[in-house]
């Protein structure tokens, strides 16, 4: 996936300015930066929720920016949300079937596919529970399962590990690795650096809507600009 000069302003506020980077197929890419850096805005542009003012986003050669959420989902972009959005009147299995129906019109196939994805996400024991009864970490898993049911090429995870206990987060990390092992590219926004950095192959650091730097986790933690953006000038060596 290639992003080139993606720019998005809301009113007078520049959420994303001239953002360009590549996401390699099959990698886990971290998208980090302080609050208000424009991470979620960028996700909304990639998933088609909003249309960037300038710039292009290509997925496997196909331009997806400005095509809307439907076309982006069909092209292979799936996402989770910072604030969990489950279909609360439905069961867990039914939630995932909504995603599976994006690839088949046949209920039995969708059900079968949803069951497979639930087993993969470790939620099969909860298949018939109403979605609103899930614990917070289970709800995060449900969102991932639902997104996977659309058979994506790229999965966007918005703060999927935030707010979890270390044990829960470890489970989430294992699931993300398993997703990548299926060949699905993962782009994740995360605040918790100590969880994120060991997990990702590369990271892109955003600050004030711009790309501050990109590189391996080791390069990121050594970068004085990153330290300044996160901790202030005092700590920059």
């Amino acid at each position: 996936m290639q992003l080139r000069s993606v720019t998005k302003t809301f009113g007078g506020v520049a959420a994303n300015v001239d953002i360009s980077f590549d996401v390699m197929q099959g990698e886990i890419l971290g998208l980090i930066g302080p609050n208000g850096a424009g991470k979620t805005s960028l996700f909304n542009s990639i998933s088609g929720e909003v249309s960037p003012d300038k710039g292009t986003i290509h997925l496997e050669g196909q331009q997806i920016n400005g095509t809307g959420p439907l076309a982006c989902a069909r092209a292979g972009v799936a996402r989770t949300f910072q604030v969990v959005r489950s279909f609360d009147s439905m069961t867990v299995l039914e939630n995932v079937m909504v995603g599976a129906f994006s690839r088949t019109a046949r209920p039995r196939e969708a059900m079968r596919a949803a069951q497979d994805v639930l087993a993969f996400a470790g939620l099969d024991a909860r298949a018939d529970a109403p979605a609103h009864q899930l614990t917070p970490p289970e709800k995060r898993r449900l969102e991932i399962a639902r997104a996977l049911a659309t058979q994506p090429r790229v999965l966007l995870l918005d703060e999927m590990l935030t707010g979890l206990t270390p044990t829960e987060a470890a489970g989430g990390v294992a699931l993300i690795r398993a997703v990548r092992d299926k060949g699905i590219t993962v782009v994740m926004v995360e605040h918790v650096m100590e969880v994120l950095l060991p997990l990702v192959d590369r990271a892109v650091v955003l600050n004030l809507g711009r790309v501050l730097m990109q590189g391996t986790p080791a390069e990121v933690v050594r970068n004085p600009d990153v330290i300044r953006a996160y901790l202030g000038d005092k700590y920059a060596a």
């Binding site: 197929q25 998933s47 929720e49 959420p69 439907l70 989902a73 069909r74 292979g76 799936a78 996402r79 949300f81 959005r85 489950s86 279909f87 609360d88 009147s89 439905m90 069961t91 299995l93 039914e94 079937m97 909504v98 995603g99 599976a100 129906f101 994006s102 690839r103 019109a105 209920p107 039995r108 196939e109 969708a110 059900m111 079968r112 596919a113 069951q115 497979d116 994805v117 993969f120 298949a127 018939d128 109403p130 639902r146 997104a147 996977l148 049911a149 659309t150 058979q151 994506p152 090429r153 997703v179 299926k182 060949g183 699905i184």
Partner: protein, 336 residues
């Protein structure tokens, strides 16, 4: 590249709660047809028979409303428009062109469904309360148009001339009882439509739209077409019910089929019984219609408003005690 985590095999899904529930509900529906069909024969007085027929008709109308208002979550308060248009289409076809109402009711469904699409086109750009208010306004516009439209009888309405007993013409001079099977068939059609929708891709899309539009969109659910399809089916079935109702009462005017309170009366059984459930509309109608009729007959000429006040009271009680509707008494999970 192949990135699917899904097994492309087409093996049948393991037996699970969804499939079991759907089979159980279909069986229950089929079994219920027997007592429901026999019900009016167990009572001898015409008043009670009429009450039963009206109750079943409203179960069907409210199920039709439930398809849009319940499953798709688009609270329409203008369904009187579709009921009225259905009534007028079949009645005009019958009185002017001699088309039998058994045929006319399908034309009524088609026209009412098409009108529902026309209404949905602008109104579905609004959501939540704004949509509901828009449907109220559209319903009132329809009422006023028909009130002043000479060709369809304007305010004086249309009498349906009563001919010989005829199944094709849905005319039964000697007894109202055959109508019971007409309304029961209608209610069954509406119920089966809801049952089929529940298990289909459409039903999943509609419920997703109702629960969370943003999440639905991110899963490639087509939001606007989903609402339009729900509106067309809901409006069409309501129009069919209107056609049957016109034939049942033998006279229609804007007040008797298009007035705003019909929109409320169509929506209330589903709301009381359980929005977005298979049994809510029937259960709600079984409670509301008898209560309404009984209060009307006991309170006599003390005004149309009293039965609606009791309706309102019932809704408040149920909303406080059973927010998911009466079906939750039976362990059915409503949408709330």
């Amino acid at each position: 590249m192949s990135v699917s985590v899904l097994d492309p095999g087409v093996a049948a899904p393991a037996d699970n709660a969804i499939l079991r529930r759907r089979r159980r509900e279909l069986l229950l529906g089929a079994l219920l047809l027997v007592p429901l069909g026999a019900l009016p024969f167990l009572v001898s007085d015409v008043y009670t028979q009429n009450l039963i027929i009206t109750t079943v008709l409203f179960a069907g109308l409210s199920q039709a409303w439930n398809i849009l208002g319940g499953y798709c979550g688009q609270i329409s308060l203008g369904h009187a428009l579709y009921m009225g248009i259905g009534a007028y289409v079949s009645t005009m076809l019958f009185t002017r062109a001699g088309v039998p109402p058994t045929v006319g009711m399908f034309a009524a469904a088609a026209v009412a469904g098409a009108v529902a699409l026309l209404v949905g086109w602008p109104c579905f750009r609004l959501s939540g309360h704004y949509y509901a208010i828009a449907t109220v306004v559209v319903g009132e516009i329809g009422y006023l148009l028909f009130l002043n439209w000479e060709w369809v009888g304007a305010a004086s309405g249309i009498y349906i001339p009563l001919g010989a007993d005829s199944v094709v013409n849905l005319q039964f001079r000697t007894s109202k009882l055959p109508f019971h099977f007409v309304v029961l068939a209608f209610a069954a059609v509406a119920w089966v439509a809801a049952w089929l929708i529940e298990g289909s891709r459409w039903g999943f899309a509609w419920r997703a739209v109702r629960d969370d539009v943003t999440a639905a969109r991110s899963l490639a659910v087509r939001v606007f077409p989903s609402k339009m399809a729900a509106a067309a089916i809901s409006g069409g079935l309501t129009g069919m019910g209107g056609a049957i109702y016109a034939q049942y009462v033998g006279y229609i005017d804007p007040d008797s089929v298009l007035a705003g309170h019909w929109s409320i009366l169509i929506a209330l059984p589903a709301v009381l019984g359980g929005v977005g459930t298979l049994w809510g509309p029937l259960l709600g109608a079984a409670v509301l219609i008898p209560v309404s009729e009984l209060t009307r007959s006991y309170l006599g000429g003390s005004g149309q408003g009293v039965d609606l006040m009791i309706y309102g009271g019932l809704i408040v009680v149920v909303a406080l005690a059973r927010p998911a509707g009466l079906v939750s008494l039976f362990g059915v999970k409503g949408r709330a």
